[in-house]
């Protein structure tokens, strides 16, 4: 960096021009580095995946097999697991996050909301591997001993949705994975929701209260319509996080390449498949390439989600 120009700069007009040009170049290079980082990630994944796509073609995405012995690989099971756990997580997290955001902005006093809001944000700072260990030590036994047998005997007998809740109560599986992810992404979604709710012009709410609306009616008919775009953006942001999460899910998903109706059955996600199998795959082998291809798919899925989320959040920010 051009820090040598410590002399009073007013005297050195030429140096001033140079300094600005040099500085502008440096920061532009740094900015280009960011683009290079993401572009490089996509390109390197695609390059590493070329072997798998050349061998299996587009059928790789819908092929259920993952068999190192016969050298036959397909990404359907981990893609299925990734989507199911992430969508379950969002389905569980959205009501929680919404409730928290409403509680923080409309129900609690500002002082208490500050403290509780901070505590909830601390949950977002806990590393994902800790969630994994907690899930394995607390949630898995709880699910195996109480929730899953109970749900199997009751919900499992309901026609229509029954198959979702049948199966051996291992404790690990799609539902447990989705629950862990839900706890992890709830703070993110509720933070986005809270910020939007707070940014709403108070006069809109005040006039609604003035007309005699109850608090819930204000939330339902004034706040929610006003903030819908950003709320959906926040949910997509949470979904994006859930899709790419590795360590938490690796502990509780059960790691079986499996597609099925039961939410209790062990499964796999792309991220946990890579975490577990990548160390055992030789560079240049078909398995290596298939793992890269799965990573490439994960990249596309999560970037697609995040792009939607950012576009939704930006529309609101621009319109404000």
């Amino acid at each position: 960096m051009d820090r040598s120009a410590t002399s009073p700069s007013a005297l050195t007009g030429v140096v001033r021009g140079n300094g600005d040009a040099v500085f502008a170049t440096i920061v532009r290079c740094a900015a280009a580095l960011i683009l290079l980082g993401l572009g490089g990630m996509v390109a390197v994944m695609a390059w590493g995946a070329r072997g798998a796509f050349a061998t299996f073609g587009p059928a790789f995405i819908v092929d259920k097999a993952w068999n190192p012995v016969t050298q036959h690989f397909g990404a359907a099971a981990p893609v299925f697991g990734t989507l199911v756990t992430a969508l379950l997580a969002v389905a569980l997290a959205v009501p929680l996050a919404f409730g928290i955001a409403v509680w923080l902005t409309e129900i609690a006093s500002a002082r208490i909301a500050g403290v509780i809001g901070t505590l909830i944000q601390l949950l977002a700072a806990v590393p994902s591997i800790i969630f994994g260990m907690w899930g394995f030590a607390v949630l898995v036994p709880f699910m195996a001993h109480y929730v899953e047998p109970f749900a199997g005997h009751t919900l499992g007998r309901v026609p229509g949705i029954g198959p979702l809740f049948r199966g051996a109560p291992y404790g690990t599986g799609f539902l447990t994975g989705g629950m862990i992810l839900a706890v992890m992404i709830t703070p993110f979604i509720s933070a986005v929701m809270r910020d939007v709710f707070l940014s709403m012009p108070a006069v809109l709410k005040e006039s609604a209260y003035g007309l005699g609306m109850t608090r819930w009616e204000v939330v339902r008919r004034i706040i929610l319509p006003w903030s819908r775009t950003s709320v959906v953006g926040g949910i997509m942001l949470g979904l994006g996080r859930a899709l790419g999460e590795t360590m938490a899910i690796t502990f509780v998903i059960g790691n079986a390449n499996h597609i099925g109706w039961s939410l209790f059955s062990p499964g796999n996600t792309i991220a946990s498949l890579i975490a577990l199998e990548f160390p055992e795959s030789a560079m240049g082998s078909l398995k290596f390439s298939s793992l890269m291809a799965a990573g490439f798919l994960l990249m596309l899925i999560s970037l697609g989600t995040l792009v939607c989320s950012r576009l939704l959040l930006r529309t609101r920010a621009a319109g404000r």
Binding site: S9, A10, G19, D20, F23, A24, I26, V27, R28, A30, A31, I34, L35, L38, M41, V44, W47, G48, L96, G99, I100, V102, W103, I107, G114, I116, T118, L119, I120, L122, L123, A125, V126, P127, S128, I129, I130, M133, A137, V183, T186, G212, M213, T214, R215, W216, V218, L237, G244, T246, M247, F251, I274, A275, F278, M292, G295, S302, L303, R310
Partner: protein, 303 residues
């Protein structure tokens, strides 16, 4: 939700927002009932998530506190049953996160400056960079590990602490970019104008006036980035790999707390799982401490 019955009991602090003047028609009672139930569910959601946080902290302390002995900090990881510690993992984590911040924070700072200060000249490109930086902020961290594996570990031919630090630095950058840009935007225009009127060139205005005014916020961002990457496991699995022996060389495979926790947590040996919990307690305590300090500091500045 299963809690629908017991929520009305919780909803005590919910004075009805609608006035009494409406009378007591049936629809009013229904509306008030719905409001009560909704309020109760909001309480329930908040309490439930707080319970999760406390449950995690409780389990960490219960399982990890026993291992907080002197030996844990001075012994390196050993085969099961030989009373090993976590010294190499702790030092490895410190080195790698330190290097990651040293590499990532300057880049993040520069990009943040670019996003905040150069909007007048290259607005389009800036929007793209901000967008991509936000994408990187939530990109799957395991893919960052794969990326560094392909561009650093494969060409150099071996795993290394430096590769781990590089992977982590890719996660540091977007966090620092975000906070730096936000903080620079808070610097009042009059300060810039005053400095420019005194004849300072733009780069000096930015570095020595704006950045200095935004110093606290920027430091906060760097600390938060440090806290975020110190718990990251996935990017380190294929980059620094882990190391059972004492090693402080960034050119060699290096142990780290998260990876050691990951390896030990699934082990069948009791002393290893105990160490994993202790490591988990250490790392969580450190991260939460940084977060709490930062938030308290921010709160004070705002007042």
């Amino acid at each position: 939700m299963a809690g629908r019955e017991n929520t009305t009991a919780v909803a005590t602090a919910a004075p009805c927002a609608s006035g009494r003047w409406q009378g007591n028609s049936l629809s009013d009672m229904r509306r008030r009932m719905v409001d009560r139930v909704a309020t109760g569910l909001c309480w329930l959601a908040t309490v439930l998530v707080l319970l999760m946080l406390f449950s995690i902290l409780f389990v960490l302390v219960r399982n990890g506190l026993g291992g907080l002995r002197w030996v844990t900090f001075v012994h390196v990881t050993l085969p099961p049953g030989q009373g090993g510690g976590l010294a190499n993992a702790i030092v490895g984590s410190l080195i790698q996160t330190g290097l990651a911040v040293l590499i990532g924070a300057p880049v993040g700072l520069l990009v943040g400056i670019y996003l905040a200060e150069f909007t007048a000249t290259d607005g389009r490109f800036i929007n793209l960079v901000r967008f991509v930086s936000d994408l990187l902020l939530s990109a799957p961290s395991i893919l960052v590990g794969l990326f560094i594996y392909m561009i650093v570990v494969v060409p150099t031919g071996h795993f290394s602490g430096m590769a781990g630090a590089l992977a982590l630095s890719m996660l540091v950058v977007p966090v620092v970019v975000r906070t730096t840009e936000d903080m620079l935007r808070l610097v009042p225009l009059s300060m810039r104008e005053a400095a420019i009127a005194l004849g300072a060139p733009r780069w000096r205005v930015i570095l020595f006036v704006c950045l200095r005014a935004a110093r606290d916020g920027v430091a906060t961002g760097i600390l938060l980035a440090l806290a975020r990457v110190s718990g990251e496991t996935a990017p380190l699995l294929f980059t620094s790999l882990g190391n059972m022996n004492w090693s402080v060389s960034p050119a060699a495979p290096m142990a780290s707390l998260p990876v050691t926790i990951y390896q030990y947590a699934g082990a069948a040996y009791e002393d290893w799982t105990a160490l994993a919990w202790t490591g988990a307690l250490l790392i969580t305590a450190g991260i939460l401490m940084i977060n709490i300090t930062v938030r308290l500091g921010l709160g004070r500045n705002r007042k």
